[in-house]
C-alpha cells in the first residue's frame, strides 16, 4: 500500500488530526476520491495544491500512477516570481 502524508492543516480541518495513511490506490485521481470518501470536503482542497510522489513534485496531478510502495505528500500551491 502507498504511504500518504497530509499537512497538519488537513488534519485539523478534515481528518481529526490523522495525517499519515496507508492506502491501496492506483493513481492520484483514485487517491483523492478515496480520501474524499473518507473525509467529505477534503478532495477539493487537495486538488488545489501540488503533490510529491516518491520525492518528485508534480504540478496539476491527476492521472499520475501511484505504486504500492510509493510515498505521497500533499503540498500547498507554490507560485514563482521569475
Amino acid at each position: 500500500m502507498a504511504h500518504i502524508v497530509l499537512g497538519d492543516e488537513f488534519g485539523r480541518q478534515f481528518t481529526g488530526g490523522q495525517t499519515h495513511f496507508d492506502l491501496d490506490v492506483r493513481d492520484v485521481r483514485h487517491l483523492i476520491r478515496t480520501l474524499e470518501g473518507m473525509f467529505p470536503g477534503i478532495g477539493e482542497q487537495l486538488e488545489a495544491g501540488a503533490i510529491a510522489i516518491d520525492n518528485e513534485i508534480i504540478p496539476d496531478p491527476w492521472l499520475n500512477p501511484i505504486q504500492p510502495n510509493s510515498e505521497v505528500f500533499f503540498l500547498p500551491p507554490i507560485k514563482g516570481g521569475k
Binding site: G7, I57, P59, L75, I78, K79, G80, G81, K82
Partner: protein, 755 residues
C-alpha cells in the same frame, strides 16, 4: 530521463549572441507602450488618494461631457464575479481580482483604481480625470503586518475568516490564514541544545523595480472579439483572466506579446488589461494605457513586508538540533501573500530532523502583494541566515563549517515532506569555501558575510512548435515570454537536437492564437519546462526525418539514425547510403509527405530545486552609516547551463536586487497611509556604481528530471543576498541588525547604541 550527463554537446553550454539582441540594441524591439493603431485613444486611470475609504458616490458626468472624451468607466462597468475560489479556477478569486483592478464600494489602498477614461489625447484624458467627482468616507487604515493581525485592527474585508485555525472563527478578521508544517519534535529537541539563538526580524515592502511600466493596447471588434497587445510574463494568463473577468469566451480574446522590460514576478498578474478592453468597447476605438512610474509603485503588486521570529538550537560542535520559525507576511489589500513558500523554503539549506514553521498572512491597506523572484523566500532566508551567523559566533565556529556540517543534500527530508533528490547545495558551499575571496584580509570597519539559499523551481504546462523551412533552417515558436534570454536557450536546445548550426534556428514567442498554451514565465520554469517542449518538438522532427529517409532508402526507420544533423545508415542492413542532411531532407519534403513540423505539448514535472551560496565583503562608514559592497561572490547549481552567460546574468541580477532589498529599498508610508516614495529618486534601487563586479560561479549537478540536466536559475540568486549583506554588516560593526533595509540612519543608530 537522465543520460545526457556524460554526452559531449556541440551547442549546449556555448555563449552565442542572443537572437533578440540586435533589435534591442538598435531600438527596433517593440515593448508594451510601442504599439500604435489607427484611431487609438489614450486611457488614463483615476486612483484613490486614501488608504482606506468607502466610496459614497462617483459622478462622471462632467468628464463625459468634455470634448475629446470617448469613454468613461467605473466599477459598475465590470461584471460582478463569484466571491470565492471555484474548482478549476487555479486558486484565483475573481471577485478580488476584479475589485483590485477597479474598486467597487471601498478603496483599500492609496492608488486603488476607481475610474478610467479614454480620450483623444493624454491632456484631455488628464483633464477628464480631474472632472470626475468621487466622494469618500475615509476609514482607519492599517499597513504594518503585526498591527493588522491584532484584534481590533481596522478591518479591510467582512468576508475573510481565518483558515487553518481551530475552531473556525465566527468573526471576520484581517488574518487570511495560518499554516504549519513540522518534522519531528522541535520543542523537545531544543532541550538538547548547548546554544539557542532566538531573534525577531522586520522587513518592509519592496517593489520588483522593473524598468518598463505596465502598458497595454486593446482593440474591440463589433463581432465581440478583442485583441490585446501588452508586455507580461504570460500572455495566455492575460487572455484567461481578461476573458473571465469580462465574461467572454477565451478564444474571442487574442493576446499578442510585446518585448518585456523586466517583470521579476510583478507581471504574472493583470492590472489594466480589462480596463483597456472595456474602454475600447465603449469608445469603439483602440485604447492604449501606459502606467506612469507613480502608478507602477502605487497600483501594481509589490512584495510583502514581514515580521519574523526564528529560533535555532545547536550542540557545541555546531550540529543543529532543532529550529522553529514564525513568519507573518503582508498580503496587500487582497489575500495572496507568498507565506506558504516562505515557510517551505526558510530552512531549505539545512538538514533538520526537528523543525517547525508557522505562517500567518494578513491583508493590509497597501497594493496587492504579488510575486517577486522566489516569492517570500528572501525574507525567511534573511532571518534564518542571520540566526545561523549568530550561532557560529556564539560557538566560535567558522560560519562556512557550520553550514557544511548541517547542509541539506540528496536524501534530506524537507519540512514540507519530500526528500531531496540530487542537488548541489554542498557543492556550492565548497565552491565558496575554496574561493580566493576568503584569503583577502579585511580592513577596519569591514566585514565578511555568508548566506545560503534554496528555491523549489517549477515545471508546468508548455507547448512548442519547430517548423523546418525548405532549406533546412528552423523557425521555433513557444508561448513563453522571454524575460531572461530564453529564446537563445530554446534555439541552443533545438540546434543541439536537430544537429544544425545555432544561427540557422530562429526562435520567436507566438501569440495566443498561434501556439499552444504555455503557463506564465515564473518559478524559473521556462528553460526547464518550455525547453523540454522544444527538445521534444525537435525530436519529433528528427523522427519524421528518419521516417522520410527510410522511405527514400526503402528500409525500416530503425535502420536510419540521426547523427550530427544527418540521417545515416544505422548499420549494414541500410545499405551503402550517403548521409542526408536536414537541408537535403527538407528540400524533398513535398515529395515525401509534406512540411516537416514538430510539436510538443507537455506538463513538465521534476524541475529539481536550486541552491545558491553567497559571500560578500562590505565596508561600513562609521561616520555616515553608509555601506559599500566591496566584493561579492555567488555560487549556484544550474544543473546544466544551456547558455552560461545568461545564467551568470540571472545570478548577477538577483544579487543586485537582493543588495537593494538589504540596504535601501522600502515602501515608505505617511501617517495618512499614502505612499511617500513612488519614484526612483526616492525609492532607491542599486545602480551600477553601487555594486562591485559580481563573481558568478556556475556548478552543474544534473537534474535527473530534465533530458539535459537543466534546473531553473532565475530565482534562487535573490534568496541569499539579504542574509549575506546583513551578516557582513553585523561583522563589520559588531551590531546585529534585524530590521531591513539597513539604511545609514539605522546603522548609525546601531553603532551608537553599542558605544
Amino acid at each position: 530521463m537522465a543520460g545526457y550527463e556524460d554526452k559531449s554537446f556541440k551547442w549546449i553550454g556555448t555563449r552565442p549572441v542572443r537572437p533578440d539582441g540586435v533589435d534591442k540594441v538598435t531600438g527596433r524591439a517593440n515593448y508594451g507602450a510601442d504599439m500604435k493603431l489607427p484611431g487609438q485613444l489614450t486611457g488614463r486611470i483615476l486612483r484613490s488618494p486614501h488608504a482606506h475609504a468607502k466610496i459614497l458616490s462617483i459622478d462622471t458626468s462632467k468628464a463625459e461631457k468634455l470634448p475629446g472624451v470617448k469613454a468613461v468607466i467605473t466599477g459598475k462597468d465590470f461584471p460582478e464575479m463569484h466571491n470565492g475560489v471555484l474548482p478549476g479556477d487555479e486558486g484565483v478569486n475573481f471577485h478580488y481580482l476584479s475589485c483590485n483592478i477597479m474598486a467597487r464600494n471601498k478603496v483599500l489602498y492609496d492608488g486603488h483604481a476607481v475610474a478610467a477614461v479614454a480620450a483623444a489625447s493624454a491632456a484631455i484624458a488628464e483633464e477628464a480625470l480631474a472632472l470626475i467627482e468621487v466622494k469618500y468616507e475615509v476609514l482607519p487604515h492599517v499597513i504594518d503586518v503585526d498591527l493588522a493581525l491584532k484584534p481590533g485592527a481596522p478591518l479591510l474585508h467582512d468576508d475573510i475568516f481565518t483558515t487553518g485555525v481551530t475552531p473556525k472563527p465566527e468573526k471576520p478578521s484581517n488574518t487570511v490564514q495560518r499554516i504549519q508544517m513540522q518534522l519531528g519534535d522541535p520543542d523537545a529537541a531544543f532541550k538538547d541544545a548547548d546554544v539557542v539563538v532566538e531573534r525577531s526580524f522586520k522587513t518592509k515592502a519592496v517593489h520588483q523595480g522593473y524598468i518598463e511600466p505596465h502598458a497595454v493596447v486593446a482593440e474591440w471588434s463589433e463581432d465581440g472579439q478583442c485583441r490585446i497587445w501588452c508586455s507580461s510574463q504570460g500572455h495566455f494568463m492575460v487572455r484567461t483572466l481578461t476573458a473571465r473577468l469580462l465574461q467572454m469566451e477565451v478564444a474571442q480574446v487574442r493576446v499578442i506579446p510585446a518585448e518585456i522590460g523586466g517583470g521579476f514576478g510583478g507581471k504574472t498578474i493583470i492590472f489594466i488589461e480589462p480596463t483597456a478592453v472595456l474602454l475600447a468597447r465603449k469608445a469603439k476605438r483602440p485604447v492604449r494605457i501606459v502606467m506612469s512610474r507613480d502608478e507602477v509603485f502605487r497600483g501594481t503588486g509589490p512584495a510583502p513586508g514581514t515580521s519574523i521570529d526564528v529560533k535555532i538550537g545547536a550542540k557545541k560542535d555546531g550540529m543543529l538540533v532543532a529550529a522553529t520559525g514564525e513568519f507573518r507576511y503582508q498580503a496587500g489589500a487582497f489575500p495572496g501573500s507568498p507565506v506558504g513558500a516562505a515557510c517551505m523554503a526558510a530552512f531549505g539549506p539545512y538538514a533538520l530532523s526537528h523543525v517547525r514553521v508557522v505562517g500567518y498572512e494578513a491583508v493590509t491597506n497597501r497594493p496587492l502583494c504579488y510575486s517577486y523572484r522566489a516569492p517570500g523566500a528572501p525574507l525567511s532566508s534573511f532571518a534564518v541566515e542571520s540566526v545561523m551567523d549568530e550561532i557560529a559566533q556564539k560557538l566560535n565556529l567558522d560560519p562556512m563549517d557550520l553550514r557544511i556540517k548541517n547542509g541539506s543534500k540528496e536524501g534530506t527530508q524537507m519540512v514540507y515532506g519530500p526528500k531531496l533528490k540530487a542537488v548541489g547545495n554542498l557543492e556550492c558551499l565548497k565552491a565558496i569555501q575554496n574561493h580566493p575571496i576568503n584569503k583577502i584580509p579585511l580592513g577596519p570597519n569591514q566585514g565578511r558575510g555568508l548566506a545560503a539559499g534554496f528555491w523549489f523551481n517549477l515545471g508546468g504546462q508548455s507547448s512548442a512548435v519547430v517548423n523546418i523551412a525548405e532549406d533546412g533552417t528552423a523557425n521555433i515558436m513557444t508561448g513563453s515570454p522571454d524575460i531572461g534570454g530564453s529564446r537563445a536557450s530554446m534555439a541552443l536546445m533545438a540546434a543541439e537536437v536537430l544537429g544544425i548550426d545555432y544561427s540557422k534556428v530562429r526562435p520567436i514567442v507566438g501569440d495566443t492564437s498561434a501556439v499552444g498554451f504555455c503557463e506564465i514565465t515564473h518559478g524559473s520554469r521556462v528553460t526547464f519546462a518550455t525547453g523540454m517542449a522544444i527538445i521534444q518538438a525537435a525530436e519529433d522532427v528528427v523522427l519524421q526525418c528518419r521516417q522520410r529517409v527510410a522511405k527514400m532508402w526503402e528500409v525500416d526507420v530503425e535502420a536510419v539514425k540521426w547523427e550530427d544533423g544527418h540521417a545515416r545508415p544505422a548499420g549494414a542492413n541500410a545499405g551503402d547510403q550517403k548521409p542526408l542532411s536536414l537541408a537535403q531532407i527538407a528540400a524533398k519534403a513535398a515529395r515525401t509527405g509534406g512540411p516537416l513540423v514538430g510539436s510538443a505539448a507537455i506538463n513538465a514535472g521534476g524541475p529539481g530545486p536550486a541552491f545558491g551560496v553567497h559571500i560578500c565583503d562590505v565596508e561600513v562608514d562609521p561616520e555616515t552609516g553608509h555601506v559599500t559592497v566591496l566584493r561579492y561572490v555567488a555560487a549556484q547549481d544550474a544543473g546544466k547551463a544551456i547558455h552560461p552567460s545568461y545564467v551568470e546574468g540571472q545570478i548577477q541580477g538577483g544579487v543586485a536586487q537582493g543588495v537593494g532589498w538589504a540596504l535601501n529599498e522600502e515602501y515608505i508610508y505617511g501617517e495618512d497611509g499614502r505612499l511617500q516614495n513612488s519614484g526612483f529618486l526616492d525609492y532607491r534601487i542599486p545602480v551600477a556604481s553601487d555594486l562591485p563586479m559580481i563573481d558568478a560561479i556556475i556548478l552543474e549537478v544534473p537534474n535527473p528530471g530534465h533530458p539535459f540536466g537543466v534546473r531553473g536559475v532565475g530565482e534562487v540568486p535573490i534568496v541569499p543576498p539579504l542574509g549575506a549583506i546583513a551578516n557582513a554588516v553585523a561583522r563589520a560593526t559588531g551590531a546585529r541588525m534585524t530590521d531591513l533595509p539597513l539604511t545609514p540612519p539605522k546603522i548609525r543608530a546601531a553603532i551608537d547604541a553599542k558605544k
